[in-house]
């Protein structure tokens, strides 16, 4: 049996609202193996994005525990979780989230520089060139097309060779053809780097390409 890289136990998230306490996630227990690709699916409001945020340590649960790459996230403070993400985790977002003040190259260099890794510029240049963006290194995000932005974002996500990649609707803002190309790229890299892939999507076809689908409804995992 392969290693478990991501695991939750009795994970719950509640928020207060004008109508009283609202349960977003309720007693979620999942385990993801290393190198596995998992799709989180479900209707709007099912708690997919909240679960992704808790798995990546972007938010804290109300109850329960999350283990990411062997570390218990709930035991770490915010800086500790940030360091763990910097070292072991990559992200791809629906709206790309490139830093507007940095060029394509600098955006890809950023995770390496944050962790103090060597050869950031050369590695980022190679990554972008292999994505077909060798001519776009010095361009700022507002000078790139949607597909180009997402390819820069994917290069940035994989540049640290993360153990886990979280993707939130990675093709949601792209047209069908571009979305298809970006999805293929994502899965190719997932295979190439043996990265565990956890993605949130409404797209059934995209979900179907994953090894496993976890369906959420009203904050619970549908058995």
């Amino acid at each position: 049996m392969q290693d478990i890289v991501l695991r939750t136990e009795a994970l719950s998230k509640k928020v207060s609202s004008p109508e009283g306490s609202l349960t977003i996630l309720d007693d979620v227990r999942i385990a993801v193996q290393s190198g596995e690709s998992v799709a989180l699916v479900g209707p709007s409001g099912a708690g997919k994005t909240t679960l992704l945020a808790l798995l990546a340590g972007l938010d804290r649960p109300s109850h329960g525990h999350v283990w990411l790459c062997g570390e218990e996230l709930t035991a770490l403070d915010e800086d500790g979780r940030a360091r763990l993400r910097g070292d072991r985790v990559g992200f791809v977002f629906q709206s790309f989230h490139l830093v507007p003040s940095l060029t394509a190259l600098e955006n890809v260099m950023l995770p390496l520089e944050l962790t103090g890794a060597d050869g950031a510029k050369a590695r980022a240049t190679d990554a972008l060139t292999s994505m077909g963006l060798g001519e776009r290194l010095g361009h700022y995000p507002n000078q790139l097309s949607g597909g180009e932005k997402q390819r820069v974002a994917i290069s940035r996500a994989f540049i640290t060779k993360p153990e886990v990649l979280f993707a939130d609707e990675p093709t949601g803002n792209l047209d069908t053809a571009t979305g298809e190309r970006v999805a293929s790229l994502l899965f190719d890299l997932n295979k190439e780097f043996q990265t565990t892939l956890v993605l949130v999507t409404h797209d059934r076809e995209l979900a179907a390409r994953c090894d496993r689908i976890i369906e959420l409804a009203s904050g619970k995992v549908v058995p």
Binding site: T49, D59, A82, R83, L114
Partner: protein, 830 residues
């Protein structure tokens, strides 16, 4: 990438895309305003000091009844200072059949070091400035002396063993206003080289030796510090602050006006900075959340933020100071002909002020908002609708207010003013916020009253609740400044100028025997139609304070010691003069015939540690009297009325040896009656106040002009507040306009809605501003400048109209771009 590099890179990128524009502009305007004000007021202040020097004849004055060592003159010159010496003594002057006591003023070449001597070729003729001093053997005589001797220009006067020829009538000499009324004989200005030939200086002669110095302020201060150590107790040192109470009071007011102008600029710029920084921080939440999701720690974000702030401070300080220097250069160029004075060069103090301003405003008002960035939840990368981290308002505004007070304290160096401003800020702020909420609430009642544009516009104001209040308060602040600058300022300035009215007394009559008074009164009644007011005038020396002999008391400062150990001027009065105000105790009952009561000027009472109820002993004309202090008075020194540190109650005081003193306004065309007066009442001394009066007026005029220039910058700061307030909701408006466009609203409807909203905001702000300006104007007039300020009813109408027009026009114009953007681009950006 280090936090430092990331911070600087983001900042540079933002400044290129205009993202940072409003924030940088607000701070640069603040620094420009402060340094321009600093450079300019520094120079104007210098010019005003020069004016005061003209009254003193120099920047520093030594006087003694013993000869002052000549080496001081030599040493001062070695330090690059100008120096001159004077000797003053009374002696008899003889001319043909007449003789009179004359006050000989012997001066060395170089006198006066500041100001100029005015002479005329005949008695009461047209006075004109003259270069140099009388040649040896010549003299310039005051009209009173010539009248008493019944001679005119050209006469030969015998002084001691020598004689001098009168070549000019001496109308004014710098320094004649110094020393009060102690120099009672009419003056004769001669060359100091003649003194030996006069051969009148004998042991026991009442002679005053003086040395005067002038030069760069720093050098004069150094020299003064050295003299304090070197000179003996018998030598009195006087500087510009001693140059007559009238002049210093006028300068003091001028500085208060200028300071007020620069302070309002700082406050407005700080408000604009806080608003712009808040917007800047809000727009960077997503980037910070992303950085955190990629592994950036809070430390990284902090270093990045602090490096941005550091760069902002340096850049804005340099740019603002550079612009400020240029701006004051232009101002000086524009104002030179009006100011009619060569301004001294600016000192680098104002440059340092630029850095201080940038740092204070940035740290105090931008830092709290930017510091909160590090608390941005990383979850925001997935959920844009998460609220921004909450600012601890107590802490952040605490820092901001501390920073502001620190800044104000450094500029004002006046605790009363600081207290007034701090209190004023709190009251204006709280009232404005409360007023803003109230007005928004009222407005909500009208939202259904008209068409769709009106409903949309008014609904926006009430829906945005707190943001609308922030905007109203910000608009109100800048409008308030506008109103203060126009209506209130001109009211205040004219009120101030009224303190020295056109018909202020221009002559003092001194040394009047009580029995002469009816004759003098009749003389003026006949010649100019009004009898002058008179005051009894007693010369007295303090002998005991609270029962303790004066000689045994250690005094806290030279002013107190001078007062206690020198013969001073006293008067008695039944009624409190109009230009005085009781601050403690009570003025005596007119019928009091028992124990003599005294009323002291508050400042001197404080210096001497005297309170109401304490006793003082005086020796008046050889008679010892004890008095009880029953009140302390505030004295309006620049009223140009005879003012006294000590006033006594009538009754027993009337029995003491005394003369009368009177002040009278003689119109210029009737000055010739003075010849008749001097001949008819030869024992009475005339003191010409015209020159001092015109100097006080000139200082007021120059300072008023400077204040108007200075307020131009305040206006600029007000405009940045206006821009920042419009920017606050710009992003939201952009998004809303896109939605409305999508729903089918025409550009015209949206623009009308915006116009309604901004016009309504402007009107409300104008109302609030009129209230604020009236209140601030009143407090400032009453408390800081001791002026009576009448309320101006126009301010309400002008406030609302100007508010509606300016805010309505600027607001609609500035958000027009948002309406014009294609909705799809806006909606896709989220």
């Amino acid at each position: 990438m280090s936090g430092l590099r990331f911070g600087l890179k983001t900042l540079l990128r933002d400044s290129r895309t205009g993202e940072l524009g409003v924030l940088l502009a607000a701070i640069v305007v603040a620094v420009t305003a402060m340094t321009a004000v600093g450079f300019f007021t520094d120079r104007v202040g210098g010019a005003i000091r020069t004016q005061a020097s003209a009254v003193l004849a120099g920047d520093l004055d030594l006087s003694s009844t013993d000869p002052i060592p000549a080496e001081y003159m030599r040493d001062a010159r070695a330090r690059g200072l100008d120096a001159a010496e004077l000797m003053t003594f009374p002696t008899m002057a003889l001319a043909a059949d007449n003789n009179s006591l004359a006050l000989i003023k012997a001066v060395s070449s170089g006198y006066p070091l500041r100001g100029e001597i005015l002479v005329s070729p005949q008695m009461f003729g047209e006075a004109a400035p003259v270069q140099g001093i009388p040649a040896p053997g010549e003299a310039w005589a005051e009209p009173g002396l010539l009248a008493r001797l019944d001679v005119d220009v050209g006469a030969t006067l015998v002084v001691g063993s020598a004689s001098v020829v009168v070549t000019q009538v001496l109308d004014y000499q710098p320094g004649q206003g110094v020393g009060g009324f102690s120099q009672l004989a009419a003056g004769l200005l001669v060359n100091i080289a003649d003194v030996q030939a006069f051969d009148v200086i004998k042991p026991g002669s009442r002679i005053t030796y003086r040395q005067i110095f002038a030069g760069e302020p720093g050098a004069v201060d150094d020299w003064r510090a050295e003299l304090r150590v070197r000179v003996g107790k018998s030598v009195r040192i006087r500087g510009l602050e001693d140059a007559g109470e009238q002049i210093t009071a006028a300068i003091d007011r001028a500085q208060r006006f200028l300071t007020l102008a620069s302070l309002v600029t700082v406050i407005l710029a700080a408000v604009a900075t806080a608003m712009a920084a808040r917007r800047y921080a809000l727009r960077h939440l997503d980037t910070i959340a992303l950085m955190k999701s990629l592994g950036a720690t809070q430390g990284f974000i902090l270093v990045s933020t602090l490096s941005q702030l550091g760069l902002v401070i340096v850049v804005t300080a340099l740019l603002g100071t550079f612009l400020g220097y240029g701006a004051q250069g232009v101002l000086v160029g524009l104002g030179a002909s009006l100011l009619k004075v060569d301004l001294p060069p600016a000192s680098w103090f104002a440059g340092a002020l630029g850095l201080l301003t940038a740092a204070t405003i940035t740290v105090g008002f931008a830092l709290p908002h930017l510091l909160k960035l590090k608390d941005t939840p990383p979850m925001r990368v997935l959920r844009h609708d998460l609220p921004p981290p909450r600012l601890n308002t107590g802490l952040s505004y605490g820092i901001a207010i501390l920073a502001l007070l620190f800044m104000i304290g450094a500029i004002v160096q006046d605790l009363l003013m600081l207290g007034l401003i701090a209190g004023g800020l709190i009251i204006v702020g709280a009232t404005a916020v409360a007023g803003g909420w109230f007005l928004v609430w009222i407005l909500t009642r009208f939202r259904g009253a008209a068409g769709v544009s009106w409903r949309y516009g008014l609904a926006n104001i009430s829906r945005r609740g707190s943001e609308s209040v922030v905007q109203i308060v910000a608009f109100a602040l800048s409008l308030m400044v506008l109103l203060l600058l126009t209506l209130v300022r001109s009211d205040l300035l004219s009120e101030w100028q009224r303190t020295v009215p056109e018909d202020a007394p221009n002559y003092f009559l001194i040394n009047i025997e009580p029995e002469q008074w009816p004759g003098i009164s009749d003389f003026f009644e006949e010649k100019i139609g009004t009898a002058p007011d008179y005051l009894p005038f007693l010369r007295g020396r303090v002998t005991r304070i609270k029962g303790e002999a004066v000689d045994d008391i250690q005094f806290p400062n030279p002013r107190a010691e001078n007062f206690a150990k020198r013969e001073g001027n006293l008067t008695w009065r039944s009624a409190l003069p109009e230009t005085n105000e009781i601050r403690e105790g009570e003025w005596w009952a007119a019928a009091n015939q028992g124990e003599i009561e005294a009323s002291l000027e508050v400042g001197i009472a404080r210096d001497l540690g005297i309170a109401v109820g304490d006793t003082l002993g005086f020796n008046v004309g050889g008679e010892d009297v004890d008095v009880r202090v029953t009140s302390l008075r505030f004295v309006e020194w620049d009223s140009m009325q005879p003012n006294f540190f000590v006033m006594l109650s009538p009754g027993l005081t009337e029995e003491l040896p005394q003369t009368y003193i009177a002040s009278v306004f003689i119109p210029p065309e009737k000055r010739r009656i003075l010849s008749d007066f001097v001949r008819e009442f030869p024992g009475v001394t005339l003191l010409d106040l015209e020159v001092i009066l015109s100097q006080v007026r000139m200082i007021i005029e120059r300072a008023s002009m400077a204040v108007q220039y200075v307020f131009l910058f305040t206006l600029l700061a007000g405009i940045t507040v206006l821009l920042a307030a419009i920017q606050v909701t710009k992003d939201e408006r952009r998004f809303e306009s896109a939605i409305l466009h999508t729903l089918g609203a025409g550009r015209r409807t949206i623009m009308q809605g915006l116009a309604v909203e901004f016009t309504a905001l402007g009107t409300l702000a104008g109302l609030l501003a009129a209230f604020g300006a009236t209140a601030v104007g009143w407090v400032v007039a009453e408390q800081a400048f001791e002026l009576d300020y009448g309320l101006n009813p126009w301010i309400w109408l002008v406030g609302c109209l100007v508010g509606a027009l300016i805010v309505g026009f600027c607001g609609t114009l500035a958000t027009r771009g948002a309406v014009n953007e294609p909705p799809v681009a806006v909606l896709r950006d989220g």
